[in-house]
C-alpha cells in the first residue's frame, strides 16, 4: 500500500482483516479509483482492500456513486484514474466477461435476470464457463454434451437448494416474486464460481422477515464457499449486523471506513446522513 492511500484511509482496512485473512493476498485491492463523466467527477480517490473471506459494506446517501463503483469494479465502465486488482491481477482495459473470469460476480440494483428463462436456466447461464463441452459437441449433441448438461443440472439444483429456491427451479424468472428474484440473482452470481460477489442492494424490496433470512444466507454463503462479499445496502440493520468492515461514500469520495461500531460513531457519517446539526443544537 502506498503512502498516498494510507493517508486517505481514516481506518485502514488492513486492521480490520479477519484473523484467517491476515497475510493472504486480498481478493480485491482498489487504489485511488476515479471516473469522470464529461466534466462531472462521479467517483474520486476511492480505495478499498477486501480480504478473501471478508464481508464488507458500502453505504452512502443516494447518488453518492455506490453503483458507479460497482460498475467500475466489473468493468462496465472503464476508470479514468486508479487501478483495480482482482486476486492480484490488474483489470485495466478488460471487458466485463473477462473480469468475471478473474473471480468477480455481481447482482444488480434493478434486478437483471433473464426473465424469459426458467430459474434453473438462469443459474445454468451463470455456470456457462464452468460447463466444459466443445462447441462441436453442442452442435451435434455428442455424448460429452449430455454428460456436461447432467453435471450442470445437478450443480445448478444444488445451488438453488442452497438459497432455498429448489421448488421454483422450473418457473420463469420473470414470474417470481421480488424477493425470490433477488435471491436468484445471487445464485446466478455464485454459479460463476467467483472469489468475491458484489451485491447491489440485496434487501431492497424485501420484508423484514425476508431480510433477516437474507442476513443468515449472506453469512452462510461466506462460510460455505469461502468467498468475500461486498454489498451496497440502505438497510442499516443488515449492514451493521452482517458486515465486518464498512466504507462510507459521499459525493464519490470515501468519507469513512471502519468496523460497524466505528462507523456508527463517526461524525462525518452522521453529518452525511443527517446533515449538520449546528442550527438545532
Amino acid at each position: 500500500m502506498n503512502e498516498y492511500s494510507r493517508k486517505m484511509l481514516k481506518v485502514p482496512t488492513y486492521n480490520l482483516l479477519r484473523e484467517q485473512d491476515k497475510d493472504k493476498l486480498p481478493v480485491l485491492d482498489v487504489r485511488n479509483l476515479g471516473i469522470d463523466f464529461g466534466g462531472l467527477t462521479a467517483v474520486d480517490g476511492f480505495n478499498i482492500t477486501i480480504g478473501p473471506t471478508e464481508i464488507s459494506g458500502l453505504i452512502g446517501p443516494n447518488g453518492a456513486g455506490k453503483t458507479t463503483i460497482f460498475n467500475l469494479l466489473t468493468s462496465v465502465y472503464q476508470p479514468t484514474r486508479g487501478s483495480i486488482l482482482i486476486n492480484g491481477i490488474d483489470t485495466k482495459g478488460m471487458t466485463t466477461h473477462k473480469v468475471n473470469k478473474l473471480g468477480i460476480a455481481r447482482t444488480f440494483q434493478n434486478i437483471r435476470l433473464f426473465t424469459d428463462m426458467t430459474a434453473l436456466d438462469n443459474v445454468k447461464v451463470g455456470m456457462h464457463n464452468e460447463i466444459k463441452c466443445p462447441f462441436i459437441s453442442s452442435l451435434l449433441h455428442l455424448p460429452p454434451y449430455y454428460k456436461a448438461e447432467k453435471k450442470a443440472n445437478e450443480k445448478a439444483m444444488e445451488l438453488l437448494d442452497f438459497m432455498g429456491l429448489a421448488d421454483v427451479a422450473d418457473k420463469k424468472a420473470g414470474s417470481l416474486p421480488y424477493g425470490v428474484q433477488r435471491r436468484l440473482e445471487i445464485v446466478r452470481a455464485l454459479a460463476t464460481n467467483p472469489s468475491i460477489i458484489l451485491l447491489d442492494e440485496p434487501a431492497a424490496g424485501m420484508n423484514p422477515s425476508e431480510t433477516t433470512e437474507l442476513m443468515h444466507q449472506i453469512r452462510r454463503i461466506r462460510d460455505t464457499f469461502h468467498i468475500a462479499i461486498f454489498l451496497i445496502e440502505h438497510d442499516m440493520n443488515l449492514v451493521m449486523n452482517v458486515c465486518e468492515a464498512i466504507a462510507v461514500v459521499n459525493y464519490g469520495r470515501i468519507i469513512a471506513k471502519g468496523t460497524p461500531e466505528e462507523i456508527r460513531q463517526n461524525p462525518a457519517v452522521i453529518e452525511a446522513y443527517l446533515g449538520r446539526e449546528e442550527g438545532n443544537a
Binding site: 453503483t67 460498475n71 462496465v76
Partner: protein
C-alpha cells in the same frame, strides 16, 4: 480537368442521394423506423411528374408540384394505415410492414404504368454550360440538383430550429414520452415528418429521372438503398449528416467508377460505408448513446 468533371458529376448524383437520405434520416430520427418504402415513393413521384407532362401536357414546374402534392398525401396515408397502428411494437415488425408497402407500391406502379421503361423528359430546358473547350460540361440538371439540395438543406435546418412544428420534431426524436408529456401531439408530428420526407422524395424522383432518364417501377429501389446507406454513413438522424453522407457517397461512387473499376463500384461504395461505420460506429456526424446500467 477530367477529375473536376467527375467531381461535378459526383456532387450532382450525391445531391440526389442527399435529398433522399434526408427523408430517411428524418423518419428514422423521429419514428425510429427504417422506412424501406421511401425509395418507392421516389418512383411514384417520378411517374406522377411524367404523366402530368406527357399526358396532360402541362409545364414541368406544374408536374413537379403535382408530384410533390401526390407524394405528400401518399406519405401521410402510408404512415396512417400501415405504420401508425404498429407504433410501439418491435422495430422488426415495422420494418417488414415497410417492405410490404414497398412491394405494394412497386407492383401497383407496374399495374398502372406497366413494367416497360418510360423515357423521362428532363424538367430542365437550359443548355449545358461548356467550359474549357468542352473539357468541362455543366448541365442544367447538375445546377438544378445542387441548387435544390442546398435549398432543401437550408430550409430544413431553419424549419427544425425556428418553427414550432420543427422544434416539436426535435423534441419527439430526442424523447418521445417526454415530448408527449409536454403537450406535443406526437402522432401529428410523426405524420408531418412523413409528409415532409415524402415531398422530398418526390423532388428527388424528378431530379433523379432528369439525370438518368429511364423510369421503371423499380427505379426507386437502388437509389433508395444507396441513400439509406448515405444516411447511415453521415449518422442516421442527423440532417447535416445525411447531406454530407449523400454527397460523399455520390463522389465516391463516381470516382470509383472512373478510376478503379466499373464493375466493382457497388462493392467499393459499400466497403467504404463499412469502414466508416467501424471507425465511427454512429456514422460521421451521429451521436453515440451509452446504455445505462
Amino acid at each position: 480537368m477530367q477529375i473536376l468533371q467527375y467531381l461535378i458529376n459526383g456532387i450532382s448524383i450525391g445531391s440526389v442521394y442527399a435529398i433522399i437520405a434526408l427523408g430517411y434520416t428524418m423518419v428514422y430520427g423521429i419514428a425510429k423506423m427504417l422506412n424501406f418504402a421511401h425509395g418507392d415513393v421516389i418512383m411514384v413521384g417520378a411517374y406522377i411528374s411524367f404523366c402530368v407532362t406527357n399526358y396532360l401536357g402541362l409545364p414541368s414546374f406544374v408536374s413537379v408540384l403535382a408530384a410533390v402534392a401526390v407524394c405528400t398525401v401518399l406519405g401521410i396515408v402510408i404512415e396512417g394505415l400501415a405504420y401508425k397502428p404498429l407504433r410501439g411494437t418491435p422495430s422488426l415488425a415495422v420494418l417488414i410492414t415497410a417492405i410490404g408497402v414497398s412491394y405494394f407500391l412497386q407492383n401497383a406502379a407496374q399495374l398502372i404504368w406497366s413494367s416497360s421503361p418510360k423515357n423521362f423528359t428532363s424538367v430542365v430546358t437550359m443548355d449545358p454550360i461548356v467550359l474549357m473547350d468542352g473539357k468541362l460540361v455543366i448541365t442544367g440538371e447538375v445546377l438544378l440538383t445542387v441548387a435544390a439540395c442546398i435549398v432543401v438543406m437550408v430550409g430544413l435546418t431553419l424549419f427544425t430550429s425556428k418553427t414550432r412544428t420543427g422544434k416539436a420534431m426535435r423534441a419527439v426524436s430526442e424523447d418521445r414520452d417526454a415530448a408527449q408529456l409536454m403537450g406535443i401531439n406526437v402522432n401529428r408530428t410523426i405524420s408531418t415528418t412523413f409528409a415532409i420526407g415524402s415531398a422530398l422524395a418526390a423532388v428527388a424522383g424528378v431530379l433523379l429521372c432528369s439525370t438518368v432518364p429511364t423510369l421503371m417501377p423499380t427505379t426507386g429501389s437502388m437509389p433508395g438503398i444507396r441513400a439509406f446507406t448515405a444516411a447511415v454513413f453521415g449518422g442516421i438522424g442527423s440532417i447535416p449528416g445525411a447531406m454530407l453522407g449523400g454527397i460523399l457517397l455520390g463522389i465516391i461512387e463516381t470516382f470509383s467508377k472512373a478510376y478503379l473499376s466499373t464493375q466493382f463500384s457497388d462493392a467499393i461504395v459499400f466497403s467504404v460505408l463499412i469502414i466508416i461505420l467501424l471507425v465511427k460506429p454512429a456514422g460521421l456526424l451521429g451521436k453515440q448513446i451509452q446504455e445505462k446500467v
